[in-house]
Symmetry: C2
Subunit: 260 residues, 2 copies
């Protein structure tokens, strides 16, 4: 499996991806799922991939080749993010169709992507590209997108991510969301790729490639655990706590049901 | 869907269950999924149910009827938790087989249970009963069991629950795990049932039935969100923070890949 996420806040974009791939549980490998494109001044794009690895590699290769060959459209020629994601979706659907035609079995060639970036004078945007080639963008009420093993890391994003959050806090939140998923599910694993791109700055952004034993990643995990214990300590006590000897009888406590 | 969990710590047991049931997304109801049995002095059992509602209701009814009729075995006659869970698994499998035989279609009658409790002079125990009627118990490395929508609420349990944790902290952690799941997934919903049973005490335990607008549940949710923000603030800063004007060049930061 895979876990990738992207966050759009007012100040820019955050992308985060794990690197574990598997073709059966006894065939586990590491491949980067974050693909960065800077096909010209004043524009950059990032593609996070999940699904069939042959499909995602073919899609990435096609996107890079199209720039080299100056095919129309390509990531250098597109004039908006909408045009770019439409081209990515079309490419993904075409690659899957081609592989399915070649197949004599019923293999699943599906792939899902998160695609985002910025073209100068437009706003940064992020999209989730479905295997069918269609796509959705994030919203102000839900300013993040996830693919793969999304459930473990969703509660923290649901509680914390709002458009006004600053970029580094959003990036730390993405790392925590990823770290929690890695801890709870062995099919998602390091190295972790993290990319932080400030809006309207086209220097490639801050890119971190964090291996399992990276001291920063370990410090994040350790301090997050400590923070969770503190958060638990901050929760309201039950009615009866601190008066353990008194009988249980508050508005919250219901009598035991009669024995049948 | 459903989310139920049980925790076994040294000092006792915690059970927690949501109440949302649905037969299609346009047929949503509330049914308690926590069933408590106190069929005699010095023994109590709790069953948390997920899966086909007709199956789980039939299983609960059979368990209660068997006590009334003094059938052998029943929850009053069993002499160990192992014997009790074996009887629950057998009953569940028999109910499913009966319903499948009656069916002219290929309906899914499966149900999964968490079953636990204590019989005096034995230790408290919890089990996960599969639809096949077989079961597993928790371990000291993994002292909790979950059924249903388990992923959202697993990271907090993975980080916090150890056998030495005291009972009320474990119960608050269960509430947080449940509350996070309710927030992130509309198919899991209040009222929330929470039961806390101290080891070797057979008074029925502390039972809380928390509706959506329960002030205690709302305070837990609010203070947990505040605690998460604080935990995020406690995370280590990125290398470049606090020196935003200097160029990005630390051991963590890799150059942007060359334009293709």
């Amino acid at each position: 499996m895979t876990y990738c996420l992207a966050i759009r806040v007012d100040k820019g974009l955050v992308f985060c991806a794990d690197s574990r791939t598997n073709a059966g549980i006894d065939n586990v490998n590491s491949y980067s799922k974050m693909h960065r494109f800077a096909p010209g001044p004043g524009r950059h794009f990032t593609l996070l991939s999940s699904g069939n690895l042959a499909t995602t590699q073919a899609v990435v290769k096609k996107l890079r080749d199209d720039i080299k060959r100056a095919a129309a459209p390509n990531l250098q020629s597109v004039t908006s993010l909408e045009e770019a994601v439409d081209y990515v979706g079309m490419t993904s659907a075409a690659v899957q169709r081609q592989q399915a035609e070649r197949d004599i079995s019923t293999t699943g060639f599906e792939a899902t992507f998160i695609f985002g970036g910025q073209i100068a004078e437009h706003k940064p945007e992020i999209f989730l590209v479905y295997p069918q080639g269609n796509y959705i963008h994030e919203s102000r009420e839900h300013p993040f997108l996830q693919v793969g093993e999304i459930k473990y890391g969703k509660p923290i994003l649901d509680r914390v991510i709002v458009p006004a959050l600053d970029l580094e806090r959003a990036a730390r939140c993405a790392l925590v969301s990823m770290n929690s998923t890695v801890r709870s599910n062995a099919t998602v694993g390091p190295p972790i790729d993290l990319l932080i791109q400030r809006a309207n700055v086209f220097d490639g952004g801050r890119f971190l490639h964090l291996s399992e034993d990276d001291p920063f990643l370990q410090a994040v995990s350790r301090q997050w655990s400590a923070g969770l214990f503190q958060a638990l300590e901050g929760l309201p006590p039950f009615d009866w706590e601190g008066r353990e000897e008194t009988p249980a009888s508050t508005g919250h406590i219901y009598p035991f049901p009669p024995t049948p």
